[in-house]
């Protein structure tokens, strides 16, 4: 009996009530390889690409400056928020707030931090947006970026090869050279 997704005819071995069929094992292997391919690709991207450079390069290649601003500001805002939170935590501790001890005590200690952290970020929003306007942030059209991410000949070669491989894989699938899963 096969309780998993695929029924199969060729039984390889049996564990208790379960039969491992050739088709089932084949499917499992293919799924595993796909998951591995996807997760290594994402992992490699994360490890090799600095988010900041990525956004700036996208803008150089045509991403809207507005979208790039939002992405960059978010990247920069996270460490600033963390820093602000730690300053406020110290201030609250100085007033006798307990931020250590049992999980319950810590959770109770968290509440008096959340309000000030969010509020203090919000109050500056208007002045911040005015300061951005003064520096012509709303101007439509492209910016001439100062940043240029170094792109060596070797990188270009690898990129081109990978693109070719991708095209070949798709072509292979379409022509039936690499058949889809049964």
């Amino acid at each position: 009996m096969s309780v998993f997704t695929r029924a199969g005819t060729t039984v390889l071995f049996t564990i208790g009530p379960f039969d491992a069929t050739l088709q089932g094992v084949d499917f499992a292997g293919q799924t595993l390889v796909r998951l591995l391919a996807i997760s290594t690709a994402i992992g490699l991207f994360g490890l090799t690409t600095e988010p900041r450079s990525f956004v700036l390069d996208l803008e150089r290649r045509g991403l809207s400056p507005r979208f790039a601003f939002v992405a960059l500001a978010t990247l920069e805002a996270v460490p600033a928020m963390v820093e602000r939170a730690s300053v406020i935590a110290s201030a609250q501790r100085a007033r006798g707030l307990d931020t250590e001890g049992s999980i319950r005590a810590r959770l109770r200690g968290l509440l008096p931090l959340v309000g000030p952290v969010i509020l203090s970020s919000l109050t500056e929003v208007e002045e911040r947006s005015l300061a951005l306007e003064v520096r012509a942030f709303g101007k439509p059209g492209r910016r001439q970026l100062l940043w240029r991410i170094p792109d060596s000949g070797a990188q270009l070669a690898v990129r081109s090869l990978l693109m070719l491989a991708l095209v070949a894989a798709i072509a292979g699938r379409l022509t039936g050279t690499f058949p889809a899963l049964p």
């Binding site: 005015l130 001439q144 100062l146």
Partner: protein, 272 residues
Amino acid sequence: MLLLEGATYRYAGYATEVLHDVDLRLDDGEIVGLVGPNEAGKSTLCLVASGLAPASVGGSLKGTLTLDGTPAAGLETHELAQRVVVGFQNPNTQRSGIAATVFEEIAIGPMNLGLPVTETVARTREAIARLRLEHLVERDPQRLSGGQAQLVGIAALLAMRPRHVILDEPTAQLDPAGTHLVGEALRALAGTGASLLIAEHKTDLLDEVCGRIIVIDGGRIVLDGPTAAVFDDPRLAELGVEPPARARLSRALVERGVDPAVVGQAIASAAG
């Protein structure tokens, strides 16, 4: 020339007016100081004279703002930014929040204008040199002292090469050396034909760089005249404005019977 005529302004959602029939004229190359007690309306006047209020801040304005002959009312904010810039008191809100280094932070304004890279770099270098920030160019703009951040904020405005500059308490976080540096930079800017309005509590700085002082109280201009005349005016103390050291010294000497002409000469020669 920046010309504000008959400005009466009210913030959005408030019934009372904060400025009453204010006239302000800044000629090219002129540096004008703005003083007055707390809540007098200095910051509000900075917003109105820069066109940000009501265009971006909201509220209602009676009266007109004209920039080099062009009415400000019809201008988009980025067009406004190429004519007049305004700097606020809190350097943290001046930061773009997207630059990784001080150099980039200062370059962002010219870059937004769509200038070619060489022009952006030239303007950025010039602004850096004006405020002697060469030693900070590689630093993270989020990790500067208050004074450093204030200088970087001013440099970022100068890089826009504005015709008119309005600064709201630009030296609040600066030590005497930093304040002096700002004074020199403002004078150099005025030398290029720009007009400046500076709201400041440090009357010594204003005494050094301004040709004219405006005193505002309760949203009305109460004194407007040459720097020496305004700072020597006895009404100043009643308005909660501390006159510069020079004015206090000469008053004390004259009160003790020293000949005013001699005092004037001595102070002029001491100031070099």
